[in-house]
Structures are given as structure tokens and as C-alpha cells.
């Protein structure tokens, strides 16, 4: 799999989990409801969307409830399967919201930690039901007949190689360029010296890792994953140099965020463009570099290349994420959102001022759950197969980790935190190739340890998360005066 394909699948993951995280942020970040059962609504959204879209009699092995077949209900209309799927998704969201209402009515009066435990219990029970009741949604055997909207249409292209490249390649480069521009803006407040030190530290670290991986593979087999061979003087010197330069950079600037952004951007560039560049110089191999640069363009899709389904699906989920982001922003930047935050700060105050806080909490729970449901529907279509093990409680805690890392009560922070989480958890997976396969489990554990360490560092030094709570502004549009 080319790096660009991996990049696309990682981005799709981040997008879906960001949508899931936005839902959690509505509950936890803006309303202060600790719902440890958030994954239940992800699961319900996934199952109900699949169930409503699924035509009957597709499979001999499916023994659950007969699907409603909305995917084929609008067969006569162009794009009818998308329409049917969208209706199914809305039903999935509504189902998630409805279940959260039923869960919320008895539990939401509970104090926050009791609510958390009760919600966790209910999510676990729901998962067990989905797992064991085969008549419902095929139990542990899962559902393979997941409808993927518009999958028959792709890959699409204009038929002309040059035109395809222009149409899909150009935006790819433009987006990379824009990302570089935004990163430069973030990095800018950094002084020259800290910036140079940070660059040096990052390059030295990357160099050290490359040395270890490329030269020490044999020894790693003998000594185990954690046994760095100190005899590799170059790697060791680079590592020490990296730590020294990194420390110096950290002490010389207050813009730690800018420093981290610089380091991440460098690492990404090295990984995404540096590697194929080395291949280009060494072997004259241009394919990977071009694939990575024109990441939205798939040369193997159709006769003259074009947009394949995976790339389309990423853009599709991105559209949902943008929509949900704007929707949540509109909700919190309003007097309604003000009451939600008041509930988070001290529920008795809005209550004493005449706001029926019970209603607000239930609505927030339902809204957040509906977003989780939408994420579930997209998840199912992306994976193409669902079973109850995909919806374990850890998914909830991954989302909490992502939200806390990025910034609680900050919608951009949710996306950032989710990206950081999944880059560490999945983005480092390509490193596995350099280690013997029997260490796969240890490496997976190591990733979680890394994320846990990051979480502890964040909670200790920056409990409000990387971005902190967002600012609020109620836009009154034309005719409205703004605050001072």
C-alpha cells in the first residue's frame, strides 16, 4: 500500500473519530456530563444505519432482523442509494438520540461520577445484548452486508489523464501548501534560535531512529524491542544531541505549542516526502513521491486514473465533520450554549435563575449521542463490516483522551486531539515493518503507553488541553450590535 493510501485511511479514521469526539465534547466539554457510555451511541448509529439501508436476503449467514432495504428503495432516482443511505443515517442518529433519552431520564439526575459509572454499565449491557442476541443483528457474527453509498460509481475520472491529474492532483498540492502556510503562521512567533534548535532536535531524533531501524534490526531481534544498542555511536550521539537541543529550545521560548507544531510538521514532511525523496535520489523512483504529492489523485483508479472510493469516502466523511462542527459551533455560540456551560460550571445556578436544567442536560445528551450515531453510520460504511467487538468501552476512553489532549470545550481541539491520538496510535504503525512480527503486541502496548504518557504530561502541565477552552461569540448578523 502506498503511503498516500495509508495517509487517506488515517485521515478518514481521524475524521470519523473527530465527529465522535465532537459529540462527546457537547456532553462533556460544554455541559459537563461525564458519559462513559458514549460508544453505545456510536454502536447504535452504526447498527441502525446498516439495518435500515440493508436489503433483505443478501446473505445466507445473516440471521438477524430483516433489513428495511432503503439502499435499494430509491433505485430509480440517480444517486438513489446515497439518498436511501442518508435517510438510514438520519434514522441511525435518531435511534442513538432516542436511546440516550431513555438512558438519560433515570440517570441524568445523578451526580457526575455516578452518572459516569451508570452510563458505562448501560453501554456494556447494550454491547452484551448486541453480542449475544443473534435474532437482533446477527450477534457476534456481525453484519457483512453493509451498504457503502455510491460505491458503484467509483472510481470516477474524466477519461483524460492530464485532466484527471489537474482536477484531483492540483487540489492535493494546494491543500498541502495551505497546511504548510497555516503551520508557518503557528510557528512564526518562535524566535530564530529556538526554531533552529527545535529543527536540529527533531532532525537528530529522526536521524537517530533511522539509524537504529536501518542498522540494528538484527540486534533488535536478539535483545528485544527496548534494547537500544549503545554501540551504535552515531545513533546514540544523535539521540543525546536531540535531547540537548530540545531542552535548549524549550528553555529559550514560551511558545511550546509553536515548537511542537514545528517538530510535528518536520516529522510529517520527513515521513511523507523525505522517504520517497530518498528513493528518488537513490533509485530514480518517482512514483511514490508523485503519489504522495497528488494524494487525492489515484493513478490506478480507472483507465486514466481518477478519484477512487477510499478518497471519495474521506471527502464524504470530511463534509460530515465540517457540517457537524458548524452545527455544534452554532449551538454553543448562542444563549442556549451559555446555559449549557452554566450547567457545567454549577448546575444549581442556572436552575435557581429559572432555567430548567434537566431539559438542557437531556437535550445535550441527545445531541451528542446523535453525532456519535452519525459517526457510527460512517464508520460502518468505511469498514464495510460491523460486529460488537468494534464498540468496546475503550473507544469511549480513546475519545476522552483525544478530547482532553486537544482541549476540552474546544471543537478545534477535539479534531487536533483526535489527530494526535490516531497519529500516535496508527500513524506509527509503519514503524512495525522494521521490527519482527512477534513483537506486534508489545508495540501496540507501547503506543498506548506513549499516549498515556502524553495524557499525563498534558494533565500535569496543561490541564485545559493543547488549545484550552475556546472563545465564544454570539453572532447576531446584520442589525445586531456586538459586545463592546
Amino acid at each position: 500500500m502506498a503511503l498516500a493510501d495509508f495517509f487517506i485511511s488515517l485521515l478518514t479514521f481521524v475524521t470519523i473519530y473527530s465527529l465522535f469526539g465532537l459529540g462527546l465534547n457537547v456532553k462533556f466539554g460544554f455541559t459537563g456530563l461525564i458519559d462513559f457510555g458514549h460508544v453505545a451511541y456510536f454502536m447504535i448509529g452504526a447498527y441502525v444505519t446498516v439495518f435500515v439501508a440493508m436489503p433483505a436476503g443478501l446473505s445466507e449467514t445473516y440471521e438477524g432482523l430483516t433489513g428495511l432495504g432503503l439502499a435499494t428503495a430509491f433505485a430509480g432516482v440517480p444517486g438513489g442509494d446515497l439518498l436511501g443511505w442518508l435517510v438510514a443515517l438520519v434514522v441511525g442518529m435518531a435511534a442513538a438520540a432516542l436511546v440516550s433519552l431513555l438512558v438519560g431520564i433515570p440517570t441524568i439526575r445523578l451526580r457526575e461520577d455516578y452518572l459516569a459509572i451508570t452510563a458505562l454499565g448501560i453501554a456494556t449491557i447494550l454491547n452484551a445484548v448486541f453480542h449475544n442476541e443473534r435474532w437482533l443483528f446477527n450477534g457476534a457474527f456481525g453484519i457483512r452486508e453493509v451498504h457503502e453509498p455510491l460505491s458503484g460509481v467509483f472510481p470516477i475520472g474524466t477519461g483524460s489523464f492530464q485532466l484527471n491529474l489537474l482536477l484531483f492532483g492540483l487540489p492535493s498540492v494546494a491543500i498541502l501548501g495551505y497546511a504548510a502556510y497555516r503551520t508557518a503562521k503557528v510557528v512564526r512567533p518562535l524566535g530564530v534560535r529556538p526554531a533552529l534548535l527545535g529543527t536540529g532536535a527533531t532532525l537528530a531524533l529522526a536521524g537517530s531512529v533511522v539509524f537504529v531501524i536501518t542498522t540494528m534490526t538484527g540486534l533488535v531481534v536478539d535483545l528485544g524491542v527496548l534494547a537500544l544498542n549503545v554501540d551504535n555511536t552515531i545513533a546514540f550521539v544523535l539521540l543525546v544531541g536531540s535531547v540537548v537541543a530540545g531542552r535548549a529550545a524549550l528553555t529559550e521560548t514560551d511558545h511550546i505549542g509553536a515548537l511542537l507544531a514545528l517538530a510535528s510538521a518536520l516529522l510529517f514532511t520527513l515521513w511523507y516526502l523525505g522517504q520517497p525523496l530518498v528513493a528518488l535520489v537513490a533509485d530514480g523512483e518517482t512514483a511514490d513521491l508523485l503519489l504522495n504529492l497528488f494524494w487525492l489523485y489515484d493513478a490506478t483508479a480507472g483507465s486514466a486514473g481518477g478519484l477512487d472510493y477510499d478518497r471519495f469516502f474521506f471527502l464524504f466523511t470530511l463534509a460530515f465533520l465540517v457540517g457537524a462542527y458548524l452545527w455544534v459551533e452554532r449551538t454553543v455560540n448562542s444563549p442556549y450554549g451559555r446555559v449549557l456551560r452554566a450547567v457545567r460550571e454549577d448546575e444549581s445556578v442556572p436552575e435557581a435563575l429559572g432555567k430548567p436544567t434537566f431539559r438542557y442536560k437531556i437535550q445535550s445528551l441527545m445531541f451528542g449521542s446523535a453525532l456519535a450515531g452519525a459517526a457510527g453510520g460512517l464508520w460502518a460504511a468505511n469498514i464495510g463490516f460491523i460486529d460488537p467487538t468494534q464498540f468496546a468501552s475503550t473507544v469511549t476512553f480513546f475519545a476522552y483522551t483525544a478530547v482532553i489532549i486537544g482541549g476540552t470545550a474546544n471543537n478545534r481541539g477535539v479534531v487536533l486531539g483526535t489527530a494526535v491520538f490516531w497519529v500516535i496510535n496508527s500513524g506509527t504503525r509503519f514503524l512495525d515493518d522494521f521490527f519482527p512480527s512477534e513483537y506486534a503486541q508489545q508495540l501496540a502496548a507501547l503506543r498506548l503507553i506513549l499516549i498515556g504518557a502524553l495524557l499525563i504530561v498534558i494533565l500535569y502541565y496543561r490541564p485545559e488541553g493543547m488549545l484550552g477552552e475556546q472563545d465564544y461569540d454570539i453572532n447576531l448578523g446584520r442589525g445586531g450590535a456586538s459586545d463592546d
Partner: protein, 257 residues
């Protein structure tokens, strides 16, 4: 004992027990217009009485009527919507929100506080929010906390928190306000400021029931005083009469003042 003939707040036979302890034991109280003081020794049940009246606690027995409507056992938000609001003994600012947001939260009947309005943003939305912003700024000026409007409420001093607490309940435009020790821990200058404001507001038609321990403040401020003791009303009447009442002296004042 003076009789209140047209009470705004009428409490009959109120009881509240915590386990075996009787916090309020069959209390009758009628509160009319103007400023009424509520005094009594610590543990007399004053705050529990507030909690029962405003719905924070559900009374075990009895009846609470406000402005001729039965509000017994209603939720605090419902009681507040009827026009009866309370402050908290320990100010409860919303620390991570600005003072401005703390104030803008308070006015009743904001259309933007409904989810559909927050999403659809009809015409009312902007008009209401402009009104709320103006009222919040005016109230901040009136209570002289306008210089900290954009500060997080968690950064305010103790006295400013008291003023914020008062400002918030006033912005709900209630008929009656229950003040739970609004002067506790407040310096004398600020104390006078708060009392002046309460008098201003009384002349604008607001009514107050006012828990306070300083008998001199009660004498100067209140037209009527209710004395609570061991979960019951010991006596009530004009401040001068109450002050010289033997039972009050014995239970609360301790000696002739």
C-alpha cells in the same frame, strides 16, 4: 405581632426533617411587600427554609404559596420563573465564564435559550440577545462591577462575587428576592453600597426577604423582622418591638443591645 393581610409569600405548616433531626418544624410565615429581615441563631433553619421555599429541597409537609399560586415542591427553575429567586449564602459565580456571561445568563424568557431558536435563529433571537446584553451592561454599571465585565468570574474578589450574585438575581426581574446573608464577609463601604442598592430597588417595587446577623443593619433596613428559632418562627413584627422581645433576647441576641 403585626399581621400581613396581603402576603406575597405565604408559608403554612412547613416541615423538613433530615433523618431524625427536625430542621423546620411546622413553620408558618407570611411575607409582604418591602424589605423583611429574617434573623435567628445559627442552625435556626433559615437557609433550609430558603431551600424549601425555592425548591432546592422538597418539604416533608406544608404548603408554600407565592403570589397566590401554589409552588410547594416545584423545581427551583419553576419557582424562579414564577418570580421568586434567591441568592446563595456562599456566592456561586460560574468561574470559567466571564462576568458578562454570568450576567447575560440571568434574564428570563430569552428566545435564544431554546434549542430550536439557537439553531434556526429567527428574528427574535437577535432582538432578545441585544436586549440581554444591554440589560447586563446596565446592571453591571448599577452595581459598579462594569470594569470587570470581561474578566473570568473566578478571578473576582469576595465582595465582587456578592455583587455579581445580586446582579444576577436582579436581572431575572423577580417579584421577590430571598437574600441569604448578602453582607457576610463584605467590607463596610461595599456593605453600604449593597444596602443602598437594596433600598433603591425596594422603591422600584422589588420585595426582599433578607437573612442577616447584624441587628443594627436589620434595624435600619427592614420594615419588618421575622425571628426564627429551632425551625419555628419565634416572633415577628416591627424591628423595635422584636429587638425588645424577651424571647428574642434570650434565644438570639443574648443581652439587651
Amino acid at each position: 405581632m403585626t399581621e400581613i393581610h396581603n402576603p406575597i409569600l405565604d408559608v403554612q405548616g412547613l416541615e423538613k426533617h433530615f433523618g431524625g433531626i427536625t430542621a423546620i418544624g411546622g413553620l408558618d410565615m407570611r411575607v409582604g411587600e418591602g424589605i423583611t429581615g429574617l434573623i435567628g441563631p445559627n442552625g435556626a433553619g433559615k437557609t433550609t427554609f430558603f431551600n424549601c421555599v425555592t425548591g432546592a429541597l422538597t418539604p416533608d409537609a406544608g404548603r408554600v404559596e407565592f403570589a397566590d399560586g401554589d409552588i410547594t415542591g416545584k423545581r427551583p427553575s419553576a419557582v424562579a420563573q414564577e418570580g421568586l429567586v434567591r441568592t446563595f449564602q456562599i456566592p456561586r459565580e460560574l468561574p470559567e465564564m466571564t462576568v458578562r456571561e454570568n450576567l447575560q445568563l440571568a434574564p428570563r424568557g430569552q428566545s435564544g435559550e431554546r434549542l430550536t431558536q439557537a439553531w434556526l435563529r429567527g428574528d427574535e433571537f437577535a432582538t432578545d440577545e441585544v436586549r440581554v446584553r444591554e440589560k447586563a451592561t446596565e446592571m453591571a454599571e448599577f452595581l459598579e462591577i462594569d470594569h470587570v465585565l470581561d474578566a473570568k468570574a473566578g478571578t473576582l474578589s469576595g465582595g465582587q462575587r456578592k455583587l455579581l450574585e445580586l446582579a444576577r438575581v436582579l436581572l431575572t426581574e423577580p417579584d421577590m428576592i430571598l437574600l441569604d446573608e448578602p453582607l457576610a464577609g463584605v467590607n463596610p463601604t461595599l456593605e453600604q453600597k449593597i444596602l443602598d442598592r437594596i433600598h433603591d430597588l425596594e422603591s422600584q417595587g422589588y420585595s426582599f426577604l433578607f437573612i442577616e446577623h447584624d441587628i443594627d443593619v436589620i434595624m435600619e433596613t427592614c420594615e419588618r423582622v421575622v425571628v426564627m428559632h429551632q425551625g419555628q418562627v419565634l416572633t415577628s413584627g416591627e424591628p423595635a418591638d422584636v429587638k425588645s422581645d424577651d424571647r428574642v433576647i434570650e434565644a438570639y441576641l443574648g443581652e439587651e443591645v
